[in-house]
């Protein structure tokens, strides 16, 4: 690649370079992080599908014995409602309505918390029945996959709480707005991942495919 630049007339300095759009670069950067995070989920799904096999239960329960699709649909409704609530917070942000942003963040927080409480109860029941991650390879994969999603939601709740405080104290500044946008992607992405967890762990788990 040869460049033809006239050294006599070439511009050597670029003092008035335009600033990057802070919100846009940070949103894209966080999105790329989310995709890399999703590759971990891909690895966990691959592990789960490999270990969801009679050979890997070590005499312990199979998927069809521990998943309850109807109950899982209940928490799906809770989770998606939490996503929708945050979406409505974004709509309020578009209108610049700070109070409505706070209200919808609170609703999203409560719905997300509800999801975690129900899921926590489900896991507590399993553990009480002696169904723990160390029981078999299959159960290790099951708990890791579902809990990985759960831990993400936990951090999402923490983030929601922090953002509520920042919206309340600092208002809708550029700093707060880009964080709200990043949280939007993070929060929606957990719903996106849950579609696959619900479908390929809770629904097909009852099918005795293997």
């Amino acid at each position: 690649m040869s460049q033809i630049a006239d050294p006599d007339r070439a511009i050597l300095w670029d003092p008035n370079h335009t600033e990057h759009d802070m919100i846009e670069t940070r949103v894209l950067g966080f999105w790329l992080y989310l995709l890399s995070d999703a590759m971990i989920v891909a690895a966990l799904f691959a592990t789960y599908l490999v270990l969801d096999h009679r050979m890997n239960t070590a005499g312990g329960p199979t998927a069809s014995m521990i998943v309850h699709p109807v109950a899982a649909f209940g928490v799906t409704v809770l989770l998606f409602s939490g996503m929708l609530a945050y979406g409505l917070a974004m709509a309020a942000l578009k209108a610049g309505d700070r109070r409505r942003v706070l209200v919808w963040i609170a609703v999203a927080f409560i719905l997300g918390l509800g999801f975690l409480v129900v899921e926590g109860h489900e896991f507590a029941d399993l553990v009480q029945a002696g169904i723990t991650p160390e029981r078999s390879g299959f159960l290790s994969a099951f708990f890791t996959l579902v809990l990985y999603h759960g831990v993400h939601l936990m951090f999402g709740l923490l983030w929601l709480a922090v953002m509520a405080v920042q919206v309340w104290r600092q208002g809708l500044t550029a700093q707060v707005v880009y964080r709200l946008l990043n949280l939007k992607m993070f929060w929606f992405f957990q719903g996106f991942i849950w579609i696959f967890v619900f479908s390929f762990v809770y629904l097909t788990g009852t099918l005795h495919v293997h």
């Binding site: 690649m1 460049q3 630049a5 050294p7 070439a10 511009i11 050597l12 300095w13 670029d14 003092p15 008035n16 370079h17 923490l158 922090v162 920042q166 600092q170 700093q175 964080r179």
Partner: protein, 307 residues
């Protein structure tokens, strides 16, 4: 690549050929590291590493590589497996002795590397770099700014006219070109949070390895708290006014031409580490004063002129 071919891989499996192969690959990385250190050392510290000792280290290192791994490849073909605690065939003996001699040459090379560093730091006054480009043949963009690099990297962003911009400018006699005016430079403030996160992450991993779960909990809480605290710290960085940049740049050039910019290694670092983070809330009002302090430090005895 070679061992990715199954037929070769099966044949040399567990032999010292394989050991020689992957260590030679690491050795190539080692050569590249040594080259990089010698090349960029002046860019970072402002003085060159001793060339004669560097060459000596290179030749001993190369000879050691040839002797150790040449012998090891052949031994692999002779059927020697790795991790032996005895030598079953007398015929391996000469080549093993050859490897030992090679190891000795590596030791000599290491001695010269350490000596090179010691001598270069000791005689840094003679090895001092007086221009952007101590090599006179460098091509890439990093040599376009000062050596060592000031905390703002480039006073004015260079416009790129060629792939090897610095070589192009030198070729056309533009290497002395300076911008005719300076804009404000906006810099992010220094922060302790990343270092803190690193420390907590280390404790987190350590706690998990040794099953000290209280440590895991404490360091995790610490990480989260540090990130949240940082997000509440509204710090939009600081601005160095264009006039200050100009004074810094002019001072820089005067200093370079009259006395060397680097008094000593540590002083050199402190000089270019940039201003400390201003206390929160006062950043905007104090902008420039950090740079003023820096300008004083940088220009040193020329204080009267820059004021």
């Amino acid at each position: 690549m070679m061992l990715a071919m199954p037929s070769i891989d099966y044949t040399v499996h567990n032999s010292v050929f394989l050991v020689a192969h992957f260590h030679t690959m690491l050795n190539v990385v080692g050569f590249a590291c040594l080259g990089g250190i010698n090349f960029w050392f002046p860019k970072v510290f402002g003085f060159k590493l001793d060339e004669g000792l560097g060459k000596r280290a290179f030749w001993f290192f190369s000879a050691g590589t040839a002797l150790v791994f040449g012998c090891m490849y052949v031994l692999g073909f002779m059927g020697m497996t790795r991790r032996l605690d005895y030598i079953p065939y007398v015929s391996w003996r000469p080549l093993l002795v050859g490897e030992e001699v090679g190891i000795f040459l590596f030791c000599v090379a290491s001695y010269y590397l350490f000596k090179q560093l010691y001598v270069s730091v000791r005689d840094r006054a003679q090895n001092r770099v007086m221009s952007n480009d101590p090599w006179g043949t460098a091509r890439s963009l990093e040599w376009l700014t000062h050596t060592p690099v000031p905390f703002y990297n480039f006073a004015v962003r260079p416009q790129i006219n060629s792939r090897d911009e610095w070589a192009w400018r030198r070729q056309h006699g533009l290497d002395g070109a300076r911008p005719d005016h300076y804009e404000d430079i906006h810099l992010p403030s220094n922060s302790v949070v990343p270092a803190l996160l690193g420390a907590f992450a280390f404790a987190f991993g350590f706690g998990f390895v040794w099953r000290m779960y209280w440590l895991v909990a404490v360091s995790l809480a610490g990480m989260i708290a540090a990130i949240i605290a940082k997000s509440f710290h509204e710090d939009s960085g600081h601005t160095i006014p264009g006039a200050m940049v100009e004074r810094l740049e002019r001072g820089f050039r005067d200093v370079v031409s009259e006395v060397a910019p680097i008094g000593d290694l540590v002083g050199g670092w402190a000089r270019f580490a940039g201003p400390r983070e201003a206390p929160s809330g006062r950043v905007r009002r104090e902008s420039g004063s950090g740079a003023r302090v820096l300008a004083m430090r940088l220009v040193g005895r020329k204080r009267e002129d820059t004021r």
